[in-house]
Amino acid sequence: MIDLDGIDVKLADGTVAIQGLSWHVPPGTRVGLVGPNGAGKTSLLMTLCGVLPPSAGRGIVAGCNLGDAKERKALRGSIGLLFQDPDDQLLEASVEDDVRLGPLLRGHSETEARDIAKASMARLGIGEWGQRIPQRLSLGEKKRVALAGVLALNPCLLLLDEPTAGLDPRGRRDLIALIGSLQTTLVLATHDLELVLDLCPTVALIDNGTVISHGTSAEVLGNPQLMFDHGLEVPWPLRGNSAGA
């Protein structure tokens, strides 16, 4: 699904966000992407969904070559990205209109788009919220609506940027259950290491724009020296293991 080989990504201001990054994610897997602030997680997500072009290296995502502008544009049609701040992607005046917008833009008729939106909302348990105003929802509710909008497009790869940031424990639990029920390939960029342990069998640690370590979640997140060196901490459930190691 994701095959990156030594890619570099430069931002518009010339900053090198990603440098010589190589990463392979097979289809149907759930991978955590962890790293300190400014490590390049969001830039990597933007590259994976074809928004930021790589300046060097070779990258294939969902069968599309990241080096080719046309293929990058086509790639956007098959990737779903859940933003850290849901206000960035809730654009319509009512929840149903917002979920319906994506299918409409993809060329579905009004009726088809409405059916797709209703199915997506029902899947996330928000079928009754159709006429609510997105801007008036709580953060957890907004994230749920944003996810419904993303899932309405049936993406083959789902990228989640800090999905639990700012959520209370119940909102976090609900979102974990939701994400856990998804069958698609998933990349989860987060600082919530317990979430990664819960949901992702494998994890990649990224720092200074490159993948430092990649392996099973317990292996990478349970390495105290590795975590300390890159500004992270061993999550609570693994602390006993690492103390004994």
């Binding site: 928004v51 956007r76 992607q89 005046a93 209109d97 994506g102 833009l105 060329g107 801007q135 909008g149």
Partner: protein, 257 residues
């Protein structure tokens, strides 16, 4: 504090116009609002205000939704026109009341009536139009996909700008900033405006990414909605009514004995 119902549910949509083509609805608004703009007499404007209010009632838009918004929108206008009766010099032999001229009162009343009628017509005709509808209007007006996107995003950006402005104003107040007639206040306002633009530009960029991910490689083209005879009838009737009002208001009527 419990949230007001109007914040959690959008107002009901006009049952007659709900199914009409969005461009027809825009045409109805533009024609009638233009007609009202040309009405010369206070009596006609008062009647138009009453019709506007009846339209809101027929549209089943709850008073709890439009009343506070009307007060917010018209409150400032009323304050502006309040001195008009006293500032207008009365004509010779013109009756006055408490030092206020009748012509000034008449002019102030006309301004408020025109504003209220335009608001009421706008809410009746345009409430509930979605992003897809606005894009259809732009497509009908041959404005092109990018202009359509710009029109729509500007509406959205106004919300973003106001949200950012509220947050920053609160942050400035919490730090002890108080507006006064001094250079420090102007500096703070300048900072807030500049920072608001920067923050809005950053957010607009993220919204652009969200939009491009949603539209995929389709270019974000929404299928055109076809006009049916009812849409055409509504639009033509509204255009004719608007033109009739303008013609009637420009005609010097003579009453035969």
């Amino acid at each position: 504090m419990a949230q007001h119902e109007s914040w959690t549910a959008p107002p009901s949509r006009f049952p007659l116009l709900k199914l009409a083509h969005p461009t027809a609805r825009c045409l109805v608004f533009v024609s009638l609002a233009t007609g009202v703009g040309f009405l010369p007499h206070t009596s006609g404007l008062l009647a138009a205000s009453a019709i506007g209010w009846l339209a809101l009632l027929a549209a089943r838009i709850p008073a709890s939704w439009y009343a506070p918004r009307a007060m917010a929108a018209l409150g400032f206008l009323v304050l502006l026109v309040l001195p008009m009766p006293w500032m207008t010099v009365p004509q010779p032999n013109e009756p006055t009341w408490w030092g206020a001229s009748w012509s000034g009162t008449d002019a102030a009343l006309k301004v408020v009536c025109r504003a209220w009628t335009t608001l009421a017509l706008g809410w009746t005709c345009l409430l509930g139009l979605s992003a897809a509808d606005w894009r259809a209007v732009c497509a009908d007006l041959r404005l092109g996909s990018s202009v359509a996107m710009m029109v729509w995003m500007s509406g959205r950006c106004l919300n973003v700008l106001s949200g950012e402005w509220r947050q920053m104003r609160l942050a400035a107040r919490m730090r002890g900033a108080r507006l006064a007639a001094n250079s420090q206040s102007w500096k703070i306002i300048g900072l807030l405006v500049g920072m608001g633009l920067i923050r809005s530009a950053v957010r607009a960029e993220r919204m652009g990414v969200a939009m491009s991910l949603r539209s995929g490689n389709s270019g974000g083209i929404i299928p055109r909605r076809i006009w049916n005879p009812t849409d055409a009838t509504i639009a033509v009737t509204a255009l004719a009514t608007g033109m009739l009002i303008i013609w009637a208001s420009r005609t010097a009527w003579e009453i035969q004995p």
